[in-house]
Each structure stands twice: as structure tokens, then as C-alpha cells.
Point group: C2
């Protein structure tokens, strides 16, 4: 494993060879981890998702390698109080014959620290339904791979004042945001779109689920069609990810959505990632 630690806020200073397979084919994985006062949050869950992805793609990587690299980045992060974002990129490295990887690849792990995004307003955020459908290859479902062109193009098409684009499946059901998982209230119960149909398995959603389970509350899986959002059974929509936590949706394609009634429970769980690890 070749490990590269990028100096904070100087990503242009560090580079990878042009024959890296991450660049050539998106042959790799990534994670973005919230760092609070120098401590990476939900680190174990992020490492597990990356290692699960690596196993499924056949990229040789082990937990010890990741932890060692994160420790080096942590030393850098600890000098900065408050919030930062730690990004891990794991590629299959260089080599191979075209698409075909080398039999014993030497992966490349790149760590970089970045400023955290600005906080979202308490009133919630505006969203749109993307024109770009989400296609999920069942072989790669849940893997946070470097093949993210759909998310790039959905983000690019968003109006400037919009926070997130929700990506529809082939039936028009809303599956996930470009960078967030969906959690919604239906008849007072928390639901999320079926997990085998989303591109990325959300670390934060799993964390919230574990937290709710301690209170005996279950999240069920059920598709969400846009027209459901206007029905009386619908109680509101929340976007979740590791960096922003839980953010209520105020509008969808310009129409007001109800503010989720049990939002405080979700946001409080999202704000305390380590306590529930």
C-alpha cells in the first residue's frame, strides 16, 4: 500500500501518476469522515465500509493499513479545533492490461483534510428531483466507489440556491440524494428507501438506526414516490450523511414539505456520532 498524506488545504501540491487506475477507470473507493476537535467521527464504520468495498472489488487492503494512515492524518488534524473533513481515497494503484487489473495490485491510499461545509439553516433546505436517473448495478450496490458521474451531473444541474438533488429510480421513486441518504416519516413511522436499491450504503443512516433501536424504534424500508409527499400520511423528509448529520427538507421542487415531528431525536443522534458507535 502506497500512502499519501495531503498537506491541509493544499491538494494541488500532491499528485498521483497518470496511470493510477482510480483516474483511468474510477477503480477505487472513497470515504469522507467528519473530524471534531481532531477526532475522526464514526471512524470504525467508515473503515468497515471501505474495507467491505475493497473486498468486493478485490483491492487488497486491511484495517491496520487504514488505521495507521488515519493516525498520521489525525496528528495533522489535531492542530485545528472544531470541524474538518477527512477524505480517504483508496485506488487499485497502477498497472494491469487495460481494464484488467494486475494479479497483485499495490493499492494507493490518499488522505486529505478539508474545511467542513457551512452549517445548514434550522428551517431546513431546498431540494429538487434530479432529471438524472440513478442506475445501481446490483454487483456494486452500497459501495462508495469512485464511479460517481451520475452524482456529479445531478449536482451540476441543481439550481444555485438548492441544497440537494434527489435521484429517482427507473420507476420515479426517490432513492437517495447525490450525497445524502433519505429518511422520511409515514404515518408517524420512520422509513427509508430499500437499501439494495441505493448506490451508497450510508454510515450515518446506520448510526441513526442503531440509536433509534436503543429506544425501541425501527426504520422500515419502503419506496418513496414524489406524489406521496403531498399525502396526509407523509410527515416530512430528512437528509442524512456523516458530514452534515441530519438536515430537514423544507421544499421539494418548490413545494413546502411538513417539518418532521420527531426531528429532534434524529438530529440529536446525528450530532453525537461517537457516543453511539
Amino acid at each position: 500500500m502506497i500512502t499519501i498524506i495531503v498537506p491541509e488545504n493544499h491538494p494541488e501540491a500532491v499528485s498521483v501518476p497518470v496511470n493510477d487506475r482510480g483516474l483511468a477507470y474510477g477503480d477505487g473507493l472513497f470515504e469522507t469522515i467528519l473530524v471534531r476537535d481532531g477526532e475522526p467521527q464514526l471512524l470504525q464504520a467508515h473503515c468497515r465500509r471501505m474495507l467491505d468495498g475493497a473486498r468486493r472489488l478485490g483491492i487488497p487492503a486491511c484495517e491496520a493499513d487504514l488505521v495507521k494512515a488515519v493516525d498520521r492524518a489525525r496528528a495533522q488534524a489535531s492542530e485545528v479545533p472544531g470541524y474538518q473533513v477527512l477524505k480517504l481515497v483508496l485506488t487499485r494503484g497502477s498497472g494491469g492490461r487495460g481494464y484488467r487489473p494486475p494479479p497483485s495490485p499495490e493499492p494507493r491510499l490518499i488522505l486529505s483534510l478539508m474545511a467542513a461545509p457551512p452549517a445548514t439553516p434550522d428551517s431546513g433546505v431546498g431540494t429538487v428531483i434530479s432529471d438524472i436517473p440513478l442506475t445501481v448495478n446490483p454487483v456494486f450496490a452500497g459501495i462508495k466507489s469512485l464511479n460517481r458521474l451520475e452524482q456529479v451531473m445531478a449536482s451540476r444541474a441543481m439550481p444555485e440556491d438548492c441544497y440537494e438533488a434527489l435521484m429517482p429510480g427507473d420507476q420515479g421513486d426517490l432513492r437517495e440524494g447525490t450525497r445524502t441518504a433519505l429518511l422520511y416519516l409515514w404515518e408517524g413511522q420512520w422509513r427509508t428507501p430499500p437499501r439494495e436499491q441505493v448506490a451508497v450504503r450510508s454510515v450515518m443512516l446506520a448510526h441513526i438506526e442503531r440509536g433509534l433501536a436503543r429506544e425501541g424504534v425501527k426504520i422500515t424500508e419502503a419506496p418513496l414516490f414524489p406524489e406521496q409527499c403531498q399525502r396526509p400520511e407523509f410527515g416530512g423528509l430528512v437528509l442524512v450523511n456523516s458530514i452534515v448529520g441530519a438536515v430537514p427538507v423544507q421544499t421539494l421542487d418548490g413545494r413546502e414539505l411538513p417539518r418532521p415531528g420527531q426531528l429532534a431525536t434524529i438530529t440529536s443522534l446525528a450530532k453525537q456520532p461517537e457516543e453511539f458507535r
Copy 2:
């Protein structure tokens, strides 16, 4: 546009910043072009496909930029007789907020020359049907983007003595190889799988189609199911791409296929790319 020319056979000597969007998200395109005695073959068609992809993805690039860069690589290529491969990678460059690209990206164009692959045997090649389904987002159909994890994994799963893996659609129909387009004979007529269902629009297939059209022969679009290959109407399967030209398939999952009767016409067209440009 930032242009990077990689010294021949030294890809590790040149690098791109870790925040390049091609590495981060597969946010870019590529082309592989056959070079014969220093001359890139079907250059115009390759540039057109890349520029069409760039337009659809919103990556600012113009033909003059590509031609100027290729001219620089050509100067290097001209020192080598025989066949080489010229690879062009065009990324959206660095920057943006996460998936969302910057409003005015500065793309990065990377050119590298590589040795051509060994010639294929006249008797044809062995192929398998991949376990990995091909998912084609209709918004990106035909674009040769850097999101190629499906092709990587299908190549990786191939037996060592196998030349190509044929990727099935969700109905099990054979759509394309990992790096080749499919052309087959049915009742003595040339057919190819429907073009809106394949991931990459083939430059060589279009070239062969133009050549056949001059002789009044048409290629029709129709899906190919594996069971059809055992039927008497089936007359053989040919793999085509810009680098290898046209290669007959000898076996599919270990079963012998008939040798295409009109193969000579196809291989002769494929061997003379420039004459039919």
C-alpha cells in the same frame, strides 16, 4: 485547458493533482487511438466522440485543443515504426464543491503513447459471458467516460486464457464486450445490439458500417441472446474496436461458434481505417 504529454512508456513519471475530478469521481472521458507508423487512425472520429461526450457532460473542450495536443504526441509517435496506442484522457480538472463542479472548470488533457497489444490468432478468440450485468444510464449512453468499474470487474473475472467478457443487459442479452463492440451474422445479415443499450458508442463499428454502406450492405440493430448462438440462423460473432480491428469469436463459454462467412470484408475494412474516413 491544461495539457500533459506523458513520455512514452513512462506513465509513472507524470502525475495529476489528487484533487483532479477524474480521480475523485471519474469525472471525465477517454479515447484509445491506434497509431500506425506515427499516424493516429480514425483521429477525427475519436475526437468527435470525445467532444460529443464533453458537450454532454459540460466539460469545455474544443477540437482545436485536441488536435493541437495530438500533434504534440504525434511528433513523439513518429519516431516509432509500426503500431502504437495513443490514449487521451480528458478530465473536468480540479475544483468544485464536492460533486458539484466549478462554474468554469479548467479541464485537464493527458496524452500517453503505449505499445500496441499482441495480434490475435486468425482462428479467433475465446470469450465468456460476464456475471456482471451492464447498467447503462440513458443520460450517458454512448459516452466513453472514466466510470468503468463494471468493465474492470468483468475483465478481472475472466479466465486467463480468455480474450473478452461479453456483458449482458438485464434481460440476459449480450450487449458489448468490456472493450469491444459486437457484430454478428443472422440469416446472412450483419447485426449489432441496439445502440442506445450499449455503454460506449464504437468508433470502429461506425467505421465498418460506413465501409459496408458503400457496398450497399446495412447493419441492423437487434438484441442477441446467448441461446441464439446455437441456432442455425446464427452465422458467427465478431468483436470490433479501434485497436484490434475485427476479431472473430471462436468460443463462447467454451462452446464453438461458427466462423463468420463474410469475415474478410469486415477485417479488411477494419484494417484500413484511414481509407474510409
